[in-house]
Every structure is written in structure tokens, then in C-alpha cells.
């Protein structure tokens, strides 16, 4: 079973209770900022008259997990993408690569770490819903099994087609996310990227990386072969005199190295 969140922008009243609960749950320093930072993991923004919540989307195949050189980011079976601050070396590749601009850095600290929503992973492990879903007064953020949430979202769109755009954001974006979103307007207007491929982004690099062992083997054997041939030519040239190979290496001098 994999947990997820369903955020329904049309039900959100922008009260910000989710941000406050998140701060408390994760012991983050105040104040609640206007945008997500390393210290504010979720905010409600108002764009063109519509509310939109910013939080980690908890991708099914997360880009951050794939790019992290030390495996500090992990996708748990329960759904959350967690972050092990004690492993992080601070390369910031996760910040660079995340398609949703989620991970943020503690730029103001001499010993910085990344900050991002972890879907209240300790709470989920303890059998509880996330803090944000628990405090939400209108049910705009709902916690549950991802498959149930997909069915629920579908049901809402079908029941009130005039209220929603016919799209569940997160169902397929970048291979799917554990956080799903519903909206009255196209998601681009809420500031969410609409140009993401449906396939997981980590595949783009894995296609190359997975072939590297082959490159190593072939290149090493090829180069040894080249060396063998050139050495043999040199040997023949030096020992059998006249019958020089097609191109004598260098007329200047033969060996060279001491």
C-alpha cells in the first residue's frame, strides 16, 4: 500500500493551517514565509484568484532520489520521499534537477542542509495521517491510499465537470506522483509545470549510465589492442630494418623515453 495526498484547489480557502501544522510537526523555525524555503516546507499561494498549495509531490520515480550521489533522498514503500540530512554533502543536484522546484537549501548557514516536505514520514509510520491533512478545515488536502485518492478525484471530476479541468495532476506527470491535484483552471496557471514527460525523468540518465560498464570493457580491450599493434610495428621496424610498416612512426627519433 502506498499513501498519498489529494489537494483540491477548489475546496481550499487559503487559511494556511497546513503551513502552520507543518512547521509544528517538523519543528521548523518561524515565520511562515510566502514561498517554500528550507524552513517552510509548504505554503498556499493565490494565483489569478485560485489557491494552490506548494509541497513535495513525492514522485513515484523521484528525480531527486536518482540524482543524489550519496543516496540521501529515498522513496519509501509507504509513499514519502525522505531526506537523510546526515548523508548530504551539499552538491544541490536535487535542487537543480527536481521538476517541481521542491528541495530548498539553507543558504544562510555555514553548515547547510536541504529542506523539503517529507509527507510526515514518522507520522505515517505511526499509523497517522499527515499534519497538513489532519488540520485542513475544508478537506482540501486529503490523506489516503493513492489508488483510493485517484478514484476519489475521478469521481469528483465526473460529478461536477464544470467545476474542474478534466485532469488529475500527478497521475502521469514525470511518471506519476504520490500527491495528486485538482483544479478549476489549467495547472500551468497554478504555477505547475505542464511540459513534463509522462515517463520518469531518471530513465533519461539511466539509459546512458546503464551502458557505461560496456563502454569500459570495449574501450579497454580496444586500447590494449591498439597498443599491441603499435608495439609490434615498432618491434618489426627496429628489428627487421627495411620492411617498414605503412607509415613509419617518426623519422625524428625512435624510442624517446628513458
Amino acid at each position: 500500500m502506498s499513501w498519498g495526498l489529494l489537494y483540491d484547489s477548489t475546496r481550499c480557502i487559503g487559511c494556511g493551517a497546513c503551513s502552520a501544522a507543518c512547521k509544528e510537526q517538523n519543528a521548523l523555525s518561524l515565520p511562515i514565509e510566502k514561498q517554500t524555503t528550507a524552513y517552510t516546507w509548504t505554503v498556499v499561494e493565490k494565483r489569478g484568484g485560485h489557491f494552490t498549495r506548494r509541497l513535495c509531490m513525492h514522485c513515484e520515480s523521484p528525480t531527486c532520489v536518482s540524482v543524489c550521489p550519496v543516496g540521501a533522498m529515498q522513496k519509501t514503500a509507504a509513499g514519502p520521499v525522505t531526506y537523510a540530512a546526515d548523508k548530504c554533502i551539499g552538491c544541490r543536484y536535487c535542487i537543480q534537477a527536481c521538476p517541481f522546484q521542491v528541495p530548498k537549501y539553507q543558504w544562510d548557514r555555514p553548515v547547510p542542509v536541504v529542506g523539503k516536505c517529507i509527507m510526515c514520514e514518522p507520522r505515517i509510520a505511526g499509523g497517522k495521517a499527515t499534519a497538513c491533512a489532519t488540520v485542513c478545515p475544508t478537506g482540501a488536502t486529503r490523506f489516503g491510499d493513492r489508488e483510493d485518492l485517484v478514484a476519489e478525484a475521478r469521481k469528483r471530476i465526473d460529478a461536477e465537470p464544470g467545476r474542474y479541468v478534466d485532469h488529475i495532476y500527478g497521475l502521469q506527470e514525470a511518471g506519476g506522483t504520490s500527491v495528486l491535484m485538482l483544479s478549476a483552471v489549467p495547472f500551468g496557471q497554478l504555477g505547475l509545470p505542464e511540459n513534463l514527460p509522462d515517463e520518469p525523468l531518471p530513465l533519461l540518465t539511466w539509459r546512458v549510465l546503464s551502458h557505461l560498464p560496456d563502454v569500459v570493457g570495449v574501450a579497454a580491450v580496444f586500447l590494449y589492442g591498439v597498443r599491441w599493434i603499435t608495439q609490434r610495428r615498432e618491434y618489426v621496424r627496429q628489428n627487421e630494418g627495411g620492411d617498414a610498416p605503412v607509415e613509419p612512426p617518426s623519422p625524428a627519433h625512435g624510442g624517446g623515453r628513458s
Partner: protein, 389 residues
């Protein structure tokens, strides 16, 4: 930075360049202090919107790329047995070695917690390009150390160790070429995962191939530029008879790169942008025009190739174009999607300039005290002027 003067051929004088270096070094130390006591935010213009800047774009991407001459020349001389390039092996290996040390030092400034760099050796994530680059750079820096060490051993007359290292030369050279092939290309693969962020003028699934080919071109260009600079500094004549064939090789590499780059742009449908007048379009035209087309057009003429000025001009443009390419991939091409405009802070520039200055100083010291150039050589190389074919 006063240095004990031993058996120098020329006495050390506190001249203009020493003064420049001293000023730069003082500023560099000050910025270092700020960086490690107050963090990246106080030092850089980086932000959550733009987390990688000059230190990645110039210090890492260009530092590694411009050091590609070392593996190229090692393969040419020791695997393909083209021995006439022997006289430039040592200065090129020195340049490459200093280049990689420069990269390692710069990384200490860019990483948020550099004291944890060893984590990459302990916590593995084989799905990460960064992980692969980290290992390759680490291993190749070791290889370069072992390729540089014989020069030091020779200087101090440690012939037994020298012989042991010499017997491992072929495997070392091959390891160096393989590792370089992997990480030179993988620096391009770093950006494969941001198709929706990187501008179509620079994003292509062939990024690793582009990075590899352009690094070889720039590495050769750098050999010519470095020969010119050290020639001026140490009063040696440019070895045109050696560098002219290198320039020819560079033209071929640049031409292959240019054709591949053009074809990719046509396939991507980005060729209209390439000809357009957008910010990105103009930057691309500068990069490609000055850095690829111009050096080809110059160096394709034997007359230009055989003049010191022409040779150095062409190679300099190739190196400049390479630097512009890496900065375009890592900065220009990512600005639009990030919604911000990134300009490095003076402190970021200071760290890069300071590290480059230290590199130059280290090169100068190495040349003074170690047998780098044939004139100093006890290795039995002939004088460069005698190497005419």
C-alpha cells in the same frame, strides 16, 4: 609567498606578476574565510531558483574539460605510438594534473558540506551521474598523480621507484583514457535529467557525446595555448612543427563536433532559435561562431597554422568557445526556466580567479624545480628545435 631560492637558473625577483598574484591571493583568502564562516548565501548569488553557478559552470565543467589534453596526448604518444609529440607530454600532464587539482579545490568551495566528500565513497547510488563523475574524477586524479610522479622521482634520483611506475605505464594510460571518456561525457549527462529546464539550443540526448568531443577539441587547443603562455613566460620558442599537426587534429575534432551539433539542432527543430535574435540565440551564435566556425576557418589554412600568431589565435578561440559552451549549458540555458537572471557575485569570481592564479603559480614553480621541458630534461629528449621531421 616568499620561496626559498635554491638552484634556480634565473634568480627569483619580486616582479609585476608576483605582485598581482600576492594581491589576488590575499583577496582569495578573505573570501575563503567568508565562505566557510558565513555560508554560500553570504558568498554567492546562488539561490533555490539557481542552485548551480560559476563554480560548477567554470571551475568544474571547464576545469575538467580543459584538462582533457592530458589523456589525449597520453593516448597519442603511448598507445598510438606517435612519438614526435613526446616533448609536450610532460607540460601537458602537468597542466592536466593542475587542472584536476583545481577542480577538486573548487569543489570544496561549492559543496555545502565539503568535509563530507568521502560520503561518495561510502554511500553509493549507482543511478546518479554525480556519483559516477565523483568516482571517475577521484580515480583519474590518482592516475594523473601516478603519471606526474615519475617527473618528481626523476628529479630526486629515485630510479628504482621510477622503474616500477614505468612498468605500469600502459595500464595507467589506458585506465586514464577510459576514466576520462566516462566522466568527460558524464558531465554532459548531468543535464540529461532536466529536459524541461534546459533551453533546446543546448538540450539534446547527445549531450554526453557533445561534451566528450568538445573536451578533446578544447584539450588540444589548451595544449597550444599553454605552450604559448609558458613559451612567453620562460623565454622558449613556440614549437610550431609540433603544434601545427595538433592544430590540424583540432580542426578535425571541431569539424566533427560542428557537424554533429548542427545536425542535432536540425533534428530538434531548434535551428530557428539558433538563427534568431533571442538572448539564447545570440549567446549560441557567439559560442558557435567564435568557438567553432572561426577556429576552423582560420586553422584550415596552412599559412595561418604555420605562424605562431595564427596558431595561438585559432586555439584561443577554440578554448574560449568551449568555455562559453559550458557556461551556456550551465547558466544561460537554464535562466529562462528558472525565472531568474544569474550573475556571479564578486566573491564567486574571486574564488575562481584565485584558484586559477594558484594554478599558474604552481605551474611556474613546477617548471622551475622539475624537469618539465626538454631543455631541463635528463630524460634524453632532444631539443625541441631538433625534432623537425
Amino acid at each position: 609567498m616568499s620561496v626559498a631560492i635554491g638552484t634556480l637558473r634565473r634568480p627569483w625577483r619580486w616582479g609585476f606578476w608576483t605582485s598581482v598574484f600576492a594581491v589576488l591571493f590575499a583577496a582569495f583568502l578573505w573570501v575563503t574565510f567568508i565562505r566557510f564562516t558565513r555560508g554560500l548565501g553570504a558568498t554567492t548569488n546562488l539561490s533555490d531558483q539557481f542552485p548551480w553557478g560559476l563554480w560548477i559552470g567554470f571551475d568544474i565543467l571547464c576545469g575538467v574539460g580543459l584538462a582533457a589534453g592530458a589523456f589525449t596526448i597520453m593516448a597519442t604518444v603511448h598507445l598510438f605510438n606517435i612519438h614526435r609529440f613526446e616533448p609536450i607530454v610532460r607540460p601537458t600532464v602537468l597542466t592536466g594534473y593542475l587542472g584536476y587539482l583545481f577542480v577538486c579545490f573548487a569543489l570544496m568551495y561549492d559543496l555545502g558540506q565539503p568535509w563530507r566528500i568521502w560520503h561518495a565513497m561510502v554511500y553509493w547510488n549507482e543511478h546518479s551521474v554525480m556519483f559516477e563523475v565523483a568516482w571517475c574524477v577521484m580515480l583519474y586524479t590518482t592516475v594523473l598523480t601516478l603519471e606526474f610522479l615519475p617527473i618528481v622521482l626523476e628529479r630526486f634520483g629515485l630510479h628504482k621507484l621510477h622503474r616500477i611506475l614505468h612498468s605500469a605505464e600502459t595500464p595507467l594510460v589506458i585506465l586514464g583514457v577510459v576514466l576520462s571518456t566516462l566522466h568527460q561525457s558524464s558531465l554532459g549527462s548531468l543535464y540529461l535529467i532536466v529536459p524541461e529546464k534546459l533551453h533546446p539550443l543546448w538540450y539534446t540526448t547527445l549531450l554526453p557525446v557533445m561534451f566528450y568531443i568538445s573536451a578533446i577539441g578544447a584539450g588540444i587547443g589548451m595544449i597550444i595555448v599553454e605552450s604559448h603562455l609558458s613559451g612567453r613566460a620562460f623565454g622558449r620558442e613556440l614549437e610550431i612543427d609540433l603544434l601545427e599537426p595538433l592544430a590540424r587534429a583540432m580542426v578535425v575534432v571541431l569539424a566533427v563536433y560542428g557537424v554533429l551539433r548542427t545536425e542535432t539542432l536540425i533534428h530538434n527543430g531548434a535551428w530557428k532559435l539558433a538563427l534568431g535574435s533571442s538572448y539564447e540565440g545570440r549567446m549560441f551564435q557567439l559560442e558557435f561562431g567564435l568557438g567553432v566556425l572561426l577556429p576552423i576557418l582560420l586553422l584550415v589554412w596552412p599559412k595561418i597554422r604555420n605562424s605562431a600568431t595564427g596558431l595561438v589565435t585559432g586555439a584561443s578561440f577554440a578554448v574560449l568557445g568551449f568555455i562559453m559552451n559550458r557556461l551556456n549549458v550551465s547558466v544561460t540555458g537554464l535562466e529562462r526556466s528558472s525565472g531568474t537572471h544569474y550573475v556571479p557575485s564578486w566573491m564567486e569570481v574571486m574564488v575562481s580567479v584565485g584558484l586559477v592564479a594558484i594554478g599558474f603559480a604552481a605551474f611556474a614553480l613546477a617548471v622551475r624545480y622539475l624537469p618539465i621541458f626538454p631543455e631541463h630534461g635528463s630524460a634524453g629528449h632532444e631539443e625541441s628545435s631538433a625534432a623537425k621531421g
